[in-house]
């Protein structure tokens, strides 16, 4: 028993150690190839240079300010989009009539790759902050609405029946039965919405007017051919995505604790 547990533990340790082999090898090969001039150093800057760039930008406020601006757009837009998504999804989920009325339009609009709306929105809303936040909200809206709709539809009919026996009002049924029943699905929608909102934030910063932001940091880096800045942006974009997802999973676990 303990022997088999020991082998299992050793296997886990081996697996964990193997995880570092490739990244370390890549980093070393990358650093060495730039040191010895094996690659075009304008295109591939050494990892140490990227770290130096990170340090430089951090000290000059070149990371914190754009990051704060991007996050404000991202979270603000995601919040607006999620609220609207829950509203529209609930209305379509609760009433067949509304589903039939809005569903086809909703599904048709969803087929348009969202970034295609940006040029149109830039005419109607300008290229400033409003257009960006509205676009991020749109990106978050679809997954939240869709998952809310499906969650509301899948609420167990017997639960609604019980509420009916207790003579709940329509609002009470929604608040006490339908909404908690649909909560896991709604939260899934919000999580997907957050991913799309972050994607939308970066895209909106590329395509709309320049303002402080991580997307802009990268575009600037590209235009001035500062590869270290661009790579720094890639790392930040990835890290922020991971942190937002992890935070959302954490909140999900707290919110759904009553279920277990």
């Amino acid at each position: 028993m303990s022997a088999s547990r020991e082998t299992a533990r050793r296997a886990a340790r081996v697996a964990a150690a193997r995880a570092y082999v490739l990244p370390l090898a890549l980093l070393v090969a990358w650093e060495l190839s730039t040191r010895f001039g094996l690659v075009n150093t304008r295109l591939l800057v050494a990892p140490t240079k990227v770290i130096a760039a990170a340090w430089r930008e951090l000290q000059q406020g070149g990371i914190v300010t754009p990051l704060a601006a991007s996050l404000a757009r991202d979270l603000g837009g995601a919040a607006i989009g999620s609220v609207l998504g829950v509203l529209v999804g609930s209305v379509m989920g609760v009433s067949r009539r509304w589903e039939h009325a809005l569903g086809p339009s909703f599904h048709a609009a969803k087929q348009v790759a969202i970034f295609a709306w940006i040029p149109l929105m830039s005419v109607w809303l300008g290229t400033g902050e409003v257009a960006k936040v509205v676009f991020v909200a749109l990106a978050a809206f679809y997954p939240v609405a869709l998952n809310t709709f499906e969650g509301v539809r899948s609420v167990s009919p017997s639960h609604v029946e019980v509420a009916r026996v207790f003579a709940f009002s329509r609002v009470q049924v929604f608040r006490r039965v339908v909404l908690p029943g649909a909560a896991p699905s709604i939260i899934t929608g919000v999580k997907v919405g957050l991913v799309y909102a972050w994607l939308g934030t970066i895209g909106a910063e590329y395509l709309l007017a320049a303002a402080p932001g991580i997307g802009n940091l990268m575009i600037d880096g590209r235009e001035s051919f500062q590869m270290d800045k661009v790579l720094l942006g890639v790392v930040i974009v990835g890290a922020v995505g991971v942190i937002i997802s992890a935070a959302a999973a954490n909140v999900e676990a707290r919110l759904l604790r009553w279920r277990s």
């Binding site: 193997r18 570092y20 009433s95």
Partner: protein, 286 residues
């Protein structure tokens, strides 16, 4: 009270039963309701143009958008841009899906390879495709290869992850049966693992294609001189919103085609699958 609640009432199959007051004749009524909202929007749009609530440069009349679409179709310009965009998607997606399937398959079949590759792969895949875009523009320029690479990358990640998960989730009972029948490793792969992975592969393909298309439109908006995304930017630069709207509708049509086409292909490929018994227990029980 009862009537108010009955809108929430669902029968045991999960399809709703509505109170008599709410029921509309099945198909006809349903379609009528579905057209109500778009027609209302169209009416409002026409009214706004008629009353000149907004200048026609900002809000072109619906007639003009339709005429522009007809024009684009007649001149062959639309078809041309469709072919360019779809050609890019096809090329990039094929490349990405094949690489993704090989990578996911290799990691699925070898635990050791998974241990070496997956953490790095997973970390890299956390950066959304658009996050790589400025980098890719520096390395590949803004030509055709940029589009292919971006679509390939967008489709590689979901395909690889889903193939890996598909292989990991092959029901152990299947493998036991295969052992009883003394299948060779090759037979095991072809007869058991591959068919059991197809549904999961399809999830990846679907997701990858959607993401690839989304990324391509963005790249075409940013850096292109042809394709549907470029058509939108071009219309925007000329301040011809009729052209912009026509191109947006065309982008939506591609999305619809990809979605429906894949659903059709999926149902054809998975026809062999018994309807409701996609779980290990039931297979053993029968």
């Amino acid at each position: 009270m009862v009537q108010a609640i009955s809108a929430y009432k669902l029968d045991e199959t999960g399809r709703g039963i509505e109170s008599a007051r709410w029921r509309v004749p099945r198909s006809a009524g349903r379609y009528a309701w579905g057209t109500l909202f778009p027609l209302g929007l169209l009416g409002l749009w026409a009214l706004a143009v008629e009353r000149a609530w907004a200048p026609p440069q900002i809000l072109p009349p619906p007639r003009l958008v339709l005429a522009t679409i007809v024009d684009l179709v007649r001149s062959g310009e639309l078809l041309n841009n469709y072919l360019i965009s779809l050609g890019r998607v096809a090329g990039g997606f094929f490349l990405g899906a094949v690489l993704g399937a090989v990578l996911g398959g290799a990691m699925g079949l070898s635990k050791r390879l998974e241990h070496y590759l997956f953490p790095t792969f997973n970390a890299l895949s956390q950066v959304p495709v658009l996050g790589w875009l400025p980098l890719a523009m520096m390395v590949f320029g803004i030509g055709e290869s940029l589009k292919i690479v971006i679509i390939a990358q967008a489709s590689l990640v979901p395909v690889a992850i889903n193939v890996l998960q598909g292989i990991r989730r092959v029901p152990p009972q299947y493998l036991e049966v295969a052992q009883v029948f003394e299948l060779s490793r090759r037979q095991l792969l072809r007869r058991v693992v591959l068919p059991a992975t197809v549904p999961s592969l399809f999830v990846g393909v679907r997701y990858g294609l959607t993401l690839g298309w989304l990324s391509l439109v963005t790249v075409e908006l940013l850096a292109s001189s042809e394709g549907l995304g470029f058509l939108i930017v071009w219309g925007r630069q000329l301040f011809q919103l009729d052209l912009v709207l026509a191109a947006i509708i065309s982008v939506g049509v591609v999305g619809l085609l990809l979605d429906k086409g894949l659903a059709l292909l999926e149902s054809r490929l998975l026809r062999w699958r018994p309807q409701a018994s996609w779980s290990g227990e039931k297979v053993v029980a029968s």
